[in-house]
């Protein structure tokens, strides 16, 4: 499997910015695995966090091309940097009485919260880095998982470094 890269961008908060960024990836046949857009500290900018996997040399081109887009203030590959990264997942699992206790124990181990419970299903919310998310969801596969929604990864540089 090709290594996954996490790219953080600070961009103008304007229509059309997302497509300009998406085109930099798609033109080079690069698939975006996840994408999170949120308001930045200043209202006129947005923060984007993109994860993508593929050839390193093409990724170097992509980062440079992203930095050329007039609406992009900066684009940085944070893969090897010291960062705090988080993701949130909601997992809906079928939950008859027989497995309810087990599921709640498992959730507790991952510090996941039950955010919805009915007779047939339970919805668990879990936060953490990508590794924890994958472990949590893998373990849940033993039960009848009905739906999974993940926010995609966000990150922030540690200490005084700028994201």
């Amino acid at each position: 499997m090709t290594p996954q890269h996490t790219i953080s961008l600070l961009v103008n908060n304007k229509p059309g910015v997302l497509i300009r960024i998406a085109l930099v990836f798609s033109r080079r046949g690069y698939n975006v695995d996840s994408l999170v857009v949120s308001p930045a500290k200043e209202e006129r900018f947005s923060r984007m966090t993109i994860t993508a996997s593929g050839d390193e040399q093409i990724l170097e081109q992509i980062i440079k091309q992203l930095n050329k887009v007039v609406d992009v203030l900066h684009a940085t590959d944070h893969t090897t940097h010291s960062v705090v990264e988080r993701e949130l997942a909601l997992v809906k699992v079928s939950c008859p009485i027989s497995t309810r206790t087990e599921l709640l124990q498992l959730a507790e181990h991952f510090k996941a919260e039950s955010v919805d419970l009915c007779e047939e299903t339970i919805t668990l919310q879990c936060t953490g880095d990508a590794g924890k998310m994958d472990a949590f969801i893998t373990l849940l596969q033993r039960y009848d998982v009905l739906e999974t929604v993940r926010t995609g990864k966000i990150l922030m540089a540690r200490g005084t470094a700028e994201t």
């Binding site: 961009v11 103008n12 229509p15 059309g16 497509i19 300009r20 085109l23 033109r27 900018f45 040399q57 170097e60 081109q61 440079k64 091309q65 930095n67 050329k68 887009v69 007039v70 609406d71 992009v72 203030l73 900066h74």
Partner: protein
């Protein structure tokens, strides 16, 4: 229109329609001159060449929908060759956006991949800032086309413009000086080189670095070669000039690149026409890359030294560091190659394209502007029509656009009145933008359209000949019109060249005809091939100087 005047716009190349009528109305009260074209593609090429010569953004004004989409080829051409251009498109009124209104097209959406930047103006008060930013972005750094989509309600609104509005471009910066440490490293490498070559690209012309580069060449005695778009970076009549390199470059330029111990590219992007196989290109030579666009570094070639900055400033800095070089033996070797493997063609066997262009060169002596289409005639013109002055060679390099030459000549003549302008075109390409003959006639532009007419799409035919067993498919231009009569039908002048003996006389007559445009139909031999040739994706060692007797393998590279 007032905003455009603020940008000192002289000519607008355009075509009206429903959605840009308010702007055309404003043109009537403006000193800006409208060049009314016959097809929007023509407008985009004219603006392109106007920009290549003046260095200022060429302005295109078209209507919405098909008016805008007709400029796409011209926008791509400008993007690939780093040409400053501002394209203003009419658009349906803002409440109708996205509702499939009459002549609505998502022009911003269609053009995202081929513009440097674009705007959809929704607030009329933004117009002064947008126009100012568009020109700044188009002309600065690595230039490129900027598109402004203006809905009709926005162009109709009356505003009190604020011309002193600040630019709002937090994500855009223009590199200037290169890092001193990289320049010092390059200076040392140049000083130590015994067989150096300079590779000069379009960037030298764009940044007006010709004088600085010439100083470097003469001080250190470094032979130089130029890309197709770099022709004229320094006069090709210079004793250290090797002419163009690459796929159809001169054999001596290609030998020099093959055997050099250092190659420094200034403002070129190591295009695939030049490097062939990137893994084998100049494997043992030190490679230095000067470029204003950081994204060009490590793209195809991984150079030893990259200098990110404006070519003129970097080379001026470099000039202050270097001493005369020790290249005497190398220069002698290069001159030897020049004698051993000159550009050559057979003088017998009918009228040769090379002969026509060779004689055109003799007539012009570098004192005329040459524009071209794409294909065989372009390569022969690049080889034989030597460029003396900056921006006297205008060709669609990156995009390789057929139909570029004639409208380009119109833009060039408007930008440089009084300079002879020759459009060297093929019989295929010229028919793609032929209606602009009218534009040349009504503006009384004495451009000379030299059709290298072999009744074939010659370059494709050459590839079918060499790599497809001469199985000719779709390349015969059967049914070409009588170009002389056609010129006359448009109200221009027509000349014909049939034999070698006609060439000098007709070219001179065309040069002397200045009442308007003329077409010179040169009926050259049909099945001639361009040599030297490095089949695409191969190396400099694979260069062929004539048609091989044996069948050739299909080349590993693209076209």
């Amino acid at each position: 229109m007032d905003c455009l005047q603020q940008q000192e716009v002289e000519h607008i190349f355009g075509y009206p329609g429903g959605a840009n009528m308010p702007i055309f109305d404003a043109l009537l009260d403006s000193p800006v001159n409208l060049v009314l074209v016959r097809h929007e593609q023509g407008a985009s090429h004219m603006a392109d060449d106007f920009a290549r010569i003046t260095g200022k953004a060429g302005v295109v004004l078209v209507t919405s929908g098909p008016g805008a989409t007709n400029t796409i080829t011209g926008i791509l051409t400008a993007m690939m060759d780093s040409i400053p251009m501002v394209i203003i498109c009419g658009q349906t009124i803002t409440p109708n956006l996205g509702l499939d209104a009459f002549q609505e097209a998502d022009v911003s959406g269609i053009t995202y991949p081929i513009v440097k930047h674009s705007y959809l103006v929704k607030d009329p008060n933004d117009i002064p800032r947008v126009i100012k930013e568009a020109f700044y972005i188009a002309e600065s750094g690595r230039p490129g086309p900027v598109l402004i989509d203006v809905p009709k309600d926005v162009s109709t609104a009356e505003i009190v413009p604020n011309f002193d509005v600040e630019l709002d471009l937090p994500g855009y910066s223009v590199p200037t000086d290169g890092p001193a440490i990289d320049i010092a490293e390059a200076a040392e490498a140049l000083q130590n080189a015994r067989r150096p070559v300079l590779l000069l690209g379009h960037g030298v012309l764009i940044s007006d670095a010709s004088n600085a580069v010439k100083q470097l060449v003469e001080k250190m005695q470094i032979p130089f070669t130029m890309t197709l778009l770099g022709k004229g970076a320094i006069s090709e009549f210079h004793p250290l000039s090797l002419g163009m390199l690459g796929m159809h470059g001169t054999a001596y330029a290609n030998y020099a690149v093959r055997d050099c111990d250092l190659i420094m590219s200034i403002g070129s992007r190591w295009d695939d026409r030049i490097i062939g196989d990137p893994a084998k290109f100049c494997k043992h030579a030190t490679k230095i890359h000067v470029d204003i666009d950081r994204a060009e570094f490590n793209k195809l070639i991984v150079p030893d030294i990259c200098i990110h900055g404006d070519a003129r400033r970097v080379v001026e800095h470099l000039n202050a560091l270097v001493q005369p070089g020790d290249t005497k033996e190398w220069v002698e070797q290069v001159h030897k190659w020049r004698k051993q493997v000159p550009l050559t063609y057979k003088k017998q066997g009918g009228l040769k394209s090379e002969y026509v262009l060779d004689r055109l060169n003799a007539l012009m002596q570098g004192e005329g502007i040459v524009t071209t289409d794409v294909g065989q005639h372009q390569m022969w013109a690049a080889q034989y029509c030597l460029t003396k002055h900056r921006n006297y060679w205008l060709s669609s390099g990156g995009a390789g656009t057929m139909g570029y030459g004639m409208p380009a000549a119109i833009g060039a003549q408007l930008a440089a009145p009084g300079v002879p302008v020759w459009a060297v075109v093929g019989d295929g390409g010229v028919q793609m933008t032929m209606p602009e003959m009218t534009t040349a006639v009504i503006n009384k532009l004495p451009i000379k359209i030299l059709i290298i007419n072999n009744s074939f799409l010659g370059m494709v035919r050459q590839w079918q000949d060499l790599f497809f067993d001469n199985r000719l498919s779709g390349v015969a231009m059967v049914g070409n019109p009588d170009f002389v009569k056609l010129a006359e039908a448009y109200g221009g002048k027509g000349f014909r060249i049939k034999r070698n003996a006609d060439v000098d006389r007709v070219l001179q007559a065309a040069a002397d005809y200045n009442d308007g445009p003329c077409i010179i139909d040169a009926e050259v031999v049909k099945a001639d091939n361009v040599f030297p040739m490095i089949p695409s994706g191969l190396t400099y060692a694979d260069m062929i100087l004539e048609r091989p007797k044996h069948k050739m393998d299909k080349p590993p590279g693209s076209t």
